[in-house]
C-alpha cells in the first residue's frame, strides 16, 4: 500500500501497512520523519515503529522526539483522604532525536494525570477534536476478560491506548506545540504549570452549554449535521462492540468444546490397536485447535479497541459542536441585546413609548421626567450601545474564527477517521484470514490422522 496524502488540507496521515503473512501488524507508519517510536511488545495494536507523514503547518513534535508508554506498574500509596489505595502508573519515555545522541528521559504518570491533561486540552482548544483516552473501566467485555481494572490484559491494553493518545496529540498540527503537553511529557512538576494556566476557570459549565444547545436559533448547518452524525456513530459503534463481544463469546465456546475430543480420543486410543496412533495424534490436533482460539480473540480485542477509540472520538466531536452552539448563542444573545437597546434609544429620542418599559410606566404614573433625566438616560443608553456593538463585533469575530478553525480540524479529523477505520476493517479481514488459515491447517492435519486410522 502506498502512502497517500490529502493535497489541500492540513492532515497528517497515520498510515499502516498490514502484513497478511504475520499476525501482527504495524498500525502507525511514520514515513519520512526521523522518528522511530520505541518498539512495543508483540501484540500492540496501535503503535510500534512506523512513519507518520506530517504535513502540518505547525511544528510536529514527533519530528523532534520519540514518545512511548513503555511500562505499567502497580503502586500503593495514600490518597487525598489519607487512605491506602492501589493504582497503576505508566512509564512515559521520551528521547529527543536532535543530533546523533538521543537523550532519553522518563517519568511515571497515573491515568488521572492523563485525564487532567486532556481536560486542559479540551478547555484550551475547544475548536479541536481532542483525541480520546482509553476507557476508564473495561466495557463490552466477553466472558473471558475480566472487567477488573487491575487485570494484566486490561492494563496492557490501556498502556497501548495511552501511548496512542500521546502519539495522536504529538502528531496534531496544533496540539503538538502546546507547552503544557511538552511539560507533561518531560517535567515532573507539570501540575503546577497546568493549574497556573487557570484553565479550570475558563471551562464552560455543563448547564450553560445545555441551555445554549436548546435555545440557539441559527447554528451553522454543518455543525448540526455533524452532531447528528456523531450521535449515529456513537450508537452504531457501541452496538457493534456489543454484538462483536457476543460473537466472540460463542466462538470461544465452539473451539473449546473441541478440546473434549482430544481427551476422549486419547483415552480411546489406549484400547485400540490399529486405530490407536491415528486417534492419539488426531487428539493432539483437536487440543491445538481448542487452544488456538485464545490468540485469535486476543487479537480481535485490538480491533475492538480501534472501534472504541472512534466511539470516544464521536464524543469529542460533539464537544466541538456544543462549543459552536454556545458561541453562536452568545452572539445571538448579544445581538438581541444590542437591537433592543437601540430600539429603546429610538423610543426615548422620539418621546414615544412603543415598547413597554418600567420607566415608561412609572413616568406615566408619576409624571414625565425632566429633560435632564431624559438626557442622562440617553447618554447611558449610548454608552451601552457602544459597548454592545463592540461585544457583538467581538462575538461575531469569535464565532467566525471558531467556525473556521473548527471546521479545518473537522476536515482533518474526517480524513483521519475514514483512513483509520478503513484500515481497521481491513485488519479485521486480515485477522479472519489468519483464523481461517489456522483452521485449514488443523483440520487438514486431523484429516490425515483420521485417514491413517
Amino acid at each position: 500500500m502506498q502512502s497517500w496524502c490529502s493535497g489541500s488540507s492540513l492532515a497528517e496521515f497515520l498510515q499502516f501497512q498490514p502484513n497478511p503473512q504475520s499476525l501482527l501488524y504495524d498500525y502507525l507508519q511514520i514515513k519520512g520523519a526521523a522518528l522511530h517510536v520505541q518498539p512495543i511488545p508483540a501484540n500492540a495494536a496501535y503503535s510500534a515503529s512506523t512513519d507518520v507523514q506530517c504535513m502540518a503547518e505547525g511544528s510536529c513534535l514527533l519530528r523532534k522526539m520519540e514518545i512511548s508508554v513503555a511500562e505499567a506498574e502497580k503502586r500503593t500509596g495514600k490518597n487525598a483522604v489519607n487512605m491506602q489505595e492501589t493504582y497503576t502508573v505508566y512509564l512515559i519515555e521520551t528521547s529527543v532525536t536532535e543530533g546523533h545522541n538521543p537523550v532519553p528521559d522518563s517519568l511515571w504518570r497515573r491515568y488521572s494525570e492523563f485525564e487532567l491533561l486532556r481536560n486542559y486540552l479540551l478547555v484550551t482548544y475547544p475548536f479541536i477534536v481532542i483525541p480520546p483516552l482509553p476507557e476508564k473501566r473495561a466495557e463490552f467485555v466477553w466472558h473471558k476478560l475480566s472487567a477488573d481494572n487491575m487485570d494484566p490484559d486490561f492494563v496492557e491494553r490501556r498502556r497501548i491506548g495511552l501511548e496512542n493518545f500521546l502519539l495522536r496529540v504529538a502528531s496534531h498540527p496544533v496540539l503538538s506545540s502546546d507547552k503544557i503537553f511538552f511539560l507533561f511529557l518531560t517535567e515532573n512538576g507539570w501540575k503546577e504549570a497546568v493549574f497556573e494556566t487557570g484553565f479550570l476557570a475558563k471551562s464552560d459549565s455543563r448547564l450553560k452549554a445545555l441551555n445554549a444547545t436548546f435555545r440557539v436559533k441559527n447554528p451553522d448547518k454543518r455543525f448540526s449535521e455533524l452532531k447528528h452524525y456523531s450521535d449515529e456513530l456513537q450508537s452504531v459503534t457501541s452496538q457493534l462492540l456489543r454484538v462483536r463481544a457476543r460473537v466472540a463469546d460463542r466462538l470461544y465456546g465452539v473451539y473449546k468444546v473441541h478440546g473434549n475430543y482430544g481427551r476422549v480420543f486419547s483415552e480411546w486410543s489406549a484400547i485400540e490397536k490399529e486405530m490407536g496412533d491415528g486417534l492419539q495424534s488426531a487428539g493432539h490436533h483437536m487440543d491445538a485447535y481448542a487452544a488456538s482460539v485464545d490468540d485469535i480473540l486476543e487479537e480481535e480485542e485490538h480491533y475492538a479497541d480501534q472501534l472504541k477509540e472512534y466511539l470516544f472520538y464521536a464524543e469529542a466531536v460533539k464537544a466541538v459542536c456544543r462549543k459552536h452552539e454556545l458561541l453562536q448563542y452568545e452572539l445571538e444573545t448579544a445581538s438581541q441585546d444590542l437591537a433592543s437597546k437601540k430600539q429603546q434609544q429610538e423610543e426615548l429620542a422620539a418621546g414615544t413609548v412603543r415598547t413597554f418599559s418600567f420607566k415608561g410606566m412609572t413616568s406615566k404614573l408619576f409624571g414625565q421626567e425632566t429633560p435632564e433625566q431624559r438626557e442622562a438616560k440617553l447618554k447611558v443608553l449610548e454608552e451601552q450601545i457602544k459597548e454592545g456593538e463592540v461585544t457583538v463585533t467581538e462575538k461575531t469575530l469569535e464565532c467566525e474564527e471558531f467556525v473556521k478553525n473548527a471546521w479545518k480540524d473537522i476536515e482533518r479529523f474526517k480524513e483521519q477517521k475514514d483512513h483509520d477505520l478503513r484500515e481497521a476493517l481491513m485488519s479485521y479481514a486480515v485477522m479472519q484470514i489468519s483464523m481461517c488459515k489456522k483452521g485449514i491447517q488443523v483440520w487438514t492435519n486431523a484429516k490425515e490422522c483420521f485417514s491413517k486410522m
Binding site: 500500500m1 502506498q2 502512502s3 497517500w4 496524502c5 490529502s6 493535497g7 489541500s8 488540507s9 497478511p20 452524525y229 449515529e232 456513530l233 452504531v236 459503534t237 452496538q239 457493534l240 454484538v243 462483536r244 457476543r246 460473537v247 463469546d249 460463542r250 466462538l251 465456546g253 465452539v254 468444546v257 473441541h258 473434549n260 475430543y261 476422549v264 483415552e267 480411546w268 484400547i271 490399529e274 486405530m275 491415528g278 488426531a282 480524513e415 475514514d418 477505520l421 478503513r422 476493517l425 481491513m426 479485521y428 479481514a429 486480515v430 479472519q432 484470514i433 481461517c436 488459515k437 483452521g439 485449514i440 483440520w443 487438514t444 486431523a446 484429516k447 483420521f450 485417514s451 486410522m453
Partner: protein, 465 residues
Amino acid sequence: MSGMSADPAQALPAVMSPLSGQMLELDEDDDLEVFSKDMNLMDGSPMNASMPTSPASMINQYKFEEETDAKDIFVTVDNPESHVTALETFITYRVVTKTTRSEFDSCEYEVRRRYQDFLWLKERLEEGHPTLIMHPLPEKFVMKGMVERFNDDFIETRQKALHKFLNRVADHPILSCHEDFKIFLTAQAWELTSHKKQGPGFLSRMGDTVRAVAASVRGVRNRPEEFTAMLEYVDSFGQKMISLDKVTQRIVKEQKEYLGELKEYGPVYTLWSGSEEELVEPLKGVASCIDRCCKATEEQIGHLSENLVPLLHEYVLCTDSVKAVLRRRDNIQAESEAKNDALANRKADREALKDSKDLGFVLGSFLGKKPEEAKQQKEQRLDSEINELKEEVERLEDKVECANNALKGDWLRWQGNMRSDIKAAFVSTAEKNVDYYEKCLAVWESFLTSQTAAHDMESNSGHSS
C-alpha cells in the same frame, strides 16, 4: 413371482414401481436372465438389454468395481409414507432389492415395510444366529425432547438407519442367507403377516426366554479369556462412544448459537454504512463477508448433524448389541455347563449304586421289592439317563463351539466395519471443516483484494478521499 407391490390389503396409494415397466422376462432357461437397463446401477459398463448374460458372468463384472467379495444383492430403503387406519397411524418405507442370487425367484423386488417388520426380522435373525453381531436398528422411541414420531428429521434419520441395518445384513455372508431375510425382502404384506404367525409359537418362545433367564442367573463359570477381554473392550468402547456422542452434540449446539449471533453481526455494519460516505464500500463489504460466512456455517452444522452425529449414535447402540451377543454366548455356555453338571451328578449316583450305599433299597423293600431287583431297575434307569445326558452334553458342547467360532469370526468383521465407519465419518467431518474454512478464507481474501485495489486506484489518481 411378481416383484410389484400392489397390495389391496393396506390403504396404500398405488405405488407404481418405476421398474415395473422394465420387468424382466424370464427365458425358458432359468440360467439365462436378461437384465434391464436399470441394472446399470450395479455395473458401469453399458448393457444391452437384449444381451443374454448369466449371473455368473455378471458377478465377474462386479469384481472390477468391488474390491471385496462380489456383491450380489443390493438393498435400498427409501420413500417413507404415512398410513392412517382406524386404529393407528404409521410409516412404511419402500424396500427395493436387486439381486442375482439363485435362491431368489426374481432379480428385483419392491415391497413396503414398517418398523415393526424390521424388528421382527432382527429378532428372527438373532434367534437363528445368537452370536453373530448385527448392526443395530434405530431406536423405537426417542426420549430426548418432544420429538414427534412423524417429524421429518426423525423419519429421515430412521430411514437412513434402517437402510444401513438392512445393508449390513445383506453384506453378511451368513445372515443374508437366512430364510426370513429373503421373505422380508420379497413377501407381499399379507404373506409376511401370515408367515410371522407361523413362527415358533408363543409357548415355545416363552420356554426359550425362561431358559435364557435361568442360564443368566446361573452365570457362566469358565468364560474363556478372549471373551472376557471382548466384554471389557466393549464396555470401554461404549463409554467412549457415549462421550463422543455428547461432545459432538454439544459442538452442534455451540455452533448454532454462534450462528445466531453472527446473523445479527453483519447487519450492524450495513446499518453503519448508512451514515458514512467514504466508508460505505468497506462497511458493506464486511457485512457481506459475514453473511456469506453465516451460510457456510449453516452448511457445516448441517453436515455434522447428518453425518457424525447419527454415526456416533449408531455406535452407542452397537455396543448394546454386542453386549447382548456376549451375554447370549455366555448363556449358551452356561446351559452347557449346567448339563455337564447334571451328567456328573448322574454319574456320581451310578457310582454310589455300585457301592450299595444307596438307602433307597430300604424304601424299596418296604414296597415289597426285592433289593436286588430294585437295584437293577435303578441301574438301568440311571444308565439310560446318563446316555441321554451324554448326547445332550455333546450337542450343547457343539453348540457352544459353534457359537464361539461364529462370534470370533464376526468379531473381526465387526471391528473392521467399525474402523471403516468411524474413519469415514471423521475424515468426512475433517474434510467438511477444511472446506468451511476455505470458503470463509476466499470470502475475506476477495474483500481484502477489492479494498486494496480500490485504494490503489484512488491513490494513483492522486485523489484525496
